[in-house]
């Protein structure tokens, strides 16, 4: 059943996974995030679009804990995580992918994913026993690899994967964390047409299993996937709503979309 | 601790500081622009001193010897750059460390083989010899004042060069993002050679200027090298302003620490242990300072690079 839709009937979200409340971020005099308030509902796929320099990656970095906001709060699953470091947020169920591929180059694809599995449910303060021989971990990691179509590439060093495969690996790592919320920072960046289409289908399959915040430039992908879309310009939310509503919003058309849409 | 004593110690600290600055300036440029750790920078300082002594023996004129030493040091530095260093720029920091360490070992032994192990000296140029009276009973050697003045002048020169010339602009840009500079179509090789040659000459200048005060001996660059690294790390790598301020800070802290550590300790403990512990604490002071700075500012006081 398509149970994700029932949460997006209304614009107000009942029981949000993530709440950004009047978030601000300045770099010196430069305002990069300027009062962002945003909710992501359980199971929702929420896309954030906007021109280059609108502050999308900065926003993701604040949510994942790599940057501290100047003001405002971040609430994740009912907890105020504004001051928590990235690793604590990850432990609470927040996963992210990186715009610039950020897999561990000298680890095999399998080990990249296995680390995510290891982080999720076991202590890592174990100094003996071969980590790469732990079957349950490897099984879970292989499953995640299979999900993104990398089932037969597990033993390849990440550095030797093609660009598209690395993008898929990013996704597999995020999936393996079994997060409550997945932050995807331009997962299709730099991939070809075919590869994009494949990633879209993977994301479609994942939709509903995790809540997702998707930052993406590929409009075809965004409108094919998103339950709701927020448009970010100059660090502010210009408009927020269902794809149809956003598509029709004159401010959005004026400011950003215009001829790019259809 | 009379005020006169404190004034003189501050001058001493300044003199040590500008000396460190002259060495650290080249180091931070080379490090900042080329991302190259050059441990052999200290031996270039040593070489400057040895060359000045050698040319003085030939010419009997300090200033001619100084100029010749600078020229020779430049030639030698560029030769090293051509033979070894340029093959290391795209290498890992650790590989740069081991290779330039090898050059230190070689050159320390080489100067010993050429000039002997005994310390050498250089007389102070006649017109700058002697002392001036700062206040009744307190003399200060003119040559140290000359060092302070020339160091400050070079600091000013660097400020103008780095702040207001095209090469300076590239240097600043390079310290922030070297890739961008080469993307701009600048001949990065040539920029590196200019920066490197300039850094070498500054170090050699420092060596030649200090030769009349300190003995010229093998290995004299090693301790200075470590201190210069302390300076550029406290200042923030690639930052000329940071190097300048950190050098003066280190110079002052070290000198004042050595002068007054025991006196201060005597206030809280008997004289005998104070005399033993004092020098240890004084020697440690700059490292404590560095640890503190890095604890609160993990990229130094004036971080230049965005990475």
């Amino acid at each position: 059943m398509d149970w994700s839709t029932e949460f997006v009937e209304g614009l107000a979200v009942a029981d949000p996974v993530l709440q950004l409340n009047d978030l601000h971020k300045n770099f010196g005099g430069l305002v990069v995030t300027d009062g962002v308030t945003l909710d992501i509902g359980f199971g929702e796929l929420h896309a954030v679009i906007g021109p280059n320099g609108a502050g999308k990656t900065t926003l993701i970095n604040q949510i994942s804990g790599l940057l501290a906001p100047t003001a405002g709060t971040i609430n994740f699953r009912g907890t105020d995580v504004t001051d928590l470091p990235a690793d604590k947020r990850a432990k609470l169920g927040l996963a992210r992918s990186f715009q610039i591929t950020s897999v561990l180059p000298r680890f095999s694809a399998l080990e990249n994913v296995a680390l995510a599995v290891q982080a999720r449910n076991q202590t890592s303060y174990r100094f003996f026993g071969r980590a790469d021989h732990e079957q349950p971990v490897n099984d879970a990691a292989n499953a995640a690899l299979a999900e993104v179509g990398l089932a037969d590439r597990g033993q390849t060093l990440a550095a030797h994967l093609s660009h598209g495969e690395k993008r898929s690996l990013e996704l597999a790592i995020a999936i393996a964390m079994e997060p409550k919320l997945l932050l995807l920072d331009e997962p299709m960046a730099g991939t070809g047409h075919e590869e994009s289409a494949r990633l879209v289908s993977v994301l479609k399959r994942l939709k509903g299993r995790f809540s997702m915040l998707l930052v993406e430039h590929d409009m075809t992908a965004v409108f094919a996937l998103a339950d709701r879309i927020s448009v970010l310009t100059y660090g502010r939310i210009l408009a927020s709503g269902t794809p149809d509503a956003v598509r029709a919003d004159p401010r959005v058309i004026a400011a950003y979309l215009g001829e790019e849409m259809e | 601790m009379s005020t006169g004593l404190v004034v003189v110690q501050i001058l001493n600290g300044l003199q040590f500081g500008v000396l460190l600055f002259l060495i650290a300036a080249g180091l931070t440029l080379v490090f900042g622009v080329m991302d190259f750790i050059n441990l052999a920078h200290g031996v270039q300082y040593m070489l400057g001193a040895y060359l000045a002594v050698a040319f003085y023996a030939l010419t009997s004129n300090f200033f001619i010897a100084l100029l010749l030493a600078l020229a020779a040091a430049l030639v030698f530095g560029l030769l090293l750059e051509f033979l070894v260093f340029r093959h290391l720029y795209d290498r890992d920091h650790l590989e740069q460390v081991i290779a330039t360490f090898g050059i230190i070992i070689f050159l320390n032994q080489a100067v010993k083989t050429v000039w002997g192990a005994a310390p050498l000296t250089l007389p102070i140029p006649e017109i700058f010899s002697g002392s001036i009276i700062l206040m009744p009973g307190l003399l200060y050697p003119i040559w140290r004042l000359v060092i302070i003045a020339s160091g400050l002048a070079i600091g000013l020169l660097l400020y103008v060069l780095v702040g207001h010339t095209r090469v300076g602009m590239l240097v600043r840009a390079g310290a922030t993002n070297a890739r961008m500079v080469s993307a701009l179509g600048v001949d990065i090789r040539r920029l590196f050679m200019i920066v490197f040659g300039f850094g070498t000459m500054l170090a050699a200048f420092a060596g030649a200027m200090i030769a009349p005060i300190l003995s010229v001996e093998p290995g004299m660059g090693d301790t200075v090298l470590i201190l210069a690294f302390v300076v550029i790390v406290i200042g923030g790598i690639g930052s000329m302003r940071g190097a300048f301020l950190a050098a003066l800070l280190i110079g002052l802290v070290d000198t004042l620490g050595r002068s007054f550590a025991i006196d201060i300790l005597r206030l809280v403990m008997p004289p005998s242990p104070a005399r033993t512990v004092g020098p240890a604490i004084a020697s440690m002071l700059i490292y404590v300072l560095m640890a503190l700075v890095l604890y609160f500012r993990p990229s130094g006081l004036f971080p230049a690079r965005g990475r």
Binding site: - | G4, Q9, N12, P119, G130, L139, I213, S259, T276, A282
Partner: protein, 388 residues
């Protein structure tokens, strides 16, 4: 550079291999030959080799092989090299080192192995007193003594106020203690500087401010070169009498030159000491190495003579250690310093002089005997030594 000389003993030995390698007496010389203090180690090595050469490559009638090792001024390296000499080269004697801390490091591995250790420079108080060792002989002095000479001199000259400075390590503290043993006037201040300090601007300011009658410093090697120059540059040399030990000597004077003129030191010897064997030694040393010898060279020269004299008594026998020790104890040689004999702790009983830096007619600088301060002087620690 004088490597070939290092081999002279060996080559002479080789030329007589018919007698078999076992017949050679092996002597290991261990000295600091790298880093700034290398010049002291070179003096030691040169002095010893000159003696071996003059003895015709023989000691006590036996061919001698000299193996030189560099302790690099690192104690663990020194221990390693000492063990190499004892176990690999199987030396009969180890001569060295320059520095007290190296001596402390190599004492155990050398003497425990039953090898005779002869120090041509370092003579710490512990090995003179309670920890004196039957296998350890000193041809130099007990470390305190040169300082005591200066203390006595300051006392006799009725100086009122003296400023003291030394490096912050045991020998530095011994130096100050030695000086104070004889000087009873006012101490303006006692300053300990880090070992290896080169810039004395801070201390000079203090000295100027204290305006003492005299200053006593123990700043060996490069430290002394720098201090003397800076002391002169600060304009203090004309106002404050400069007393020192191991600070102005022939190893540092080539660098100090005029800056040290008229400065005083305490010593057991000087190049101009008037006796025929010394005149010959100095002339030969200068000819061979183009430098004026310092105490390090003469004491190493004496060490070779000591070995030669002892082996003459044992008829070349080095395996009977008791006989060898007894023979060494007799000090059967004519020291370059003149009267010389061993105390019960195997440290010398000798004369001490106050020496003064002067320029010779040929333009070179050297220390010259100014006045005899102690005659037949022994160190105060010998009474604690259990050896009789």
């Amino acid at each position: 550079m004088h490597k070939k000389l290092a081999l002279i003993g060996a080559i002479m030995g080789l030329s007589a291999t018919a007698a078999g390698a076992q017949d050679k007496v092996k002597v290991g010389v261990i000295a600091t030959l790298s880093g700034p203090p290398a010049v002291l180690g070179q003096q030691l090595r040169n002095g010893f080799q000159l003696a071996v050469k003059n003895l015709g490559g023989k000691v006590g009638g036996r061919e001698v092989e000299v193996v030189v090792e560099d302790d690099e001024l690192k104690p663990d390296v020194a221990v390693n090299k000492a063990k190499a000499l004892v176990d690999r080269t199987k030396v009969d004697f180890v001569v060295g080192p320059i520095f007290s801390n190296m001596l402390i490091a190599i004492m155990k591995p050398v003497t425990d192995a039953g090898v005779i250790l002869i120090s041509p420079n370092a003579g710490t108080s512990n090995f003179a007193g309670k920890e004196c060792n039957p296998n350890f002989f000193v041809t130099s002095y007990q470390n305190d003594q040169n300082h005591e000479v200066m203390g006595k001199y300051a006392q006799d000259a009725a100086m009122k106020k003296v400023f003291l400075m030394a490096p912050n390590y045991q020998a530095g503290k011994d130096a100050i203690a030695g000086f104070k043993r004889y000087f009873k006037g006012e101490i303006a201040d006692e300053v300990y500087v880090p070992l290896g300090q080169l810039d004395y601007s801070a201390e000079l300011t203090k000295i100027a401010a204290a305006s003492p009658d005299g200053i006593f410093v123990f700043l060996p090697g490069g430290m002394g070169v720098n201090f003397v120059k800076q002391f002169r540059q600060a304009g203090l040399a004309d106002k404050i009498k400069f007393l020192s030990a191991f600070t102005v000597d022939e190893s540092t004077l080539p660098a100090q030159k005029e800056a040290a003129l008229g400065f005083f030191g305490g010593a057991n010897w000087a190049p101009n000491l008037d006796n025929p064997q010394n005149k010959k030694f100095v002339a030969e040393y200068e000819k061979e190495y183009n430098a004026v010898p310092a105490t390090y060279a003469f004491q190493a020269y004496d060490a070779a003579l000591l070995i030669d004299g002892a082996l003459k008594l044992t008829k070349g026998n080095t395996s009977d250690k008791d006989a060898l020790r007894a023979a060494l104890m007799k000090a059967n040689f004519t020291s370059l310093r003149g009267p010389f004999k061993f105390n019960t702790n195997h440290y010398p009983i000798q004369d001490f002089y106050q020496v003064k830096v002067a320029q010779r007619a040929d333009g070179k600088f050297e220390t010259q005997i100014d006045k005899k301060v102690f005659a037949g002087y022994s160190d105060p620690y010998a009474k604690d030594c259990p050896m009789k």
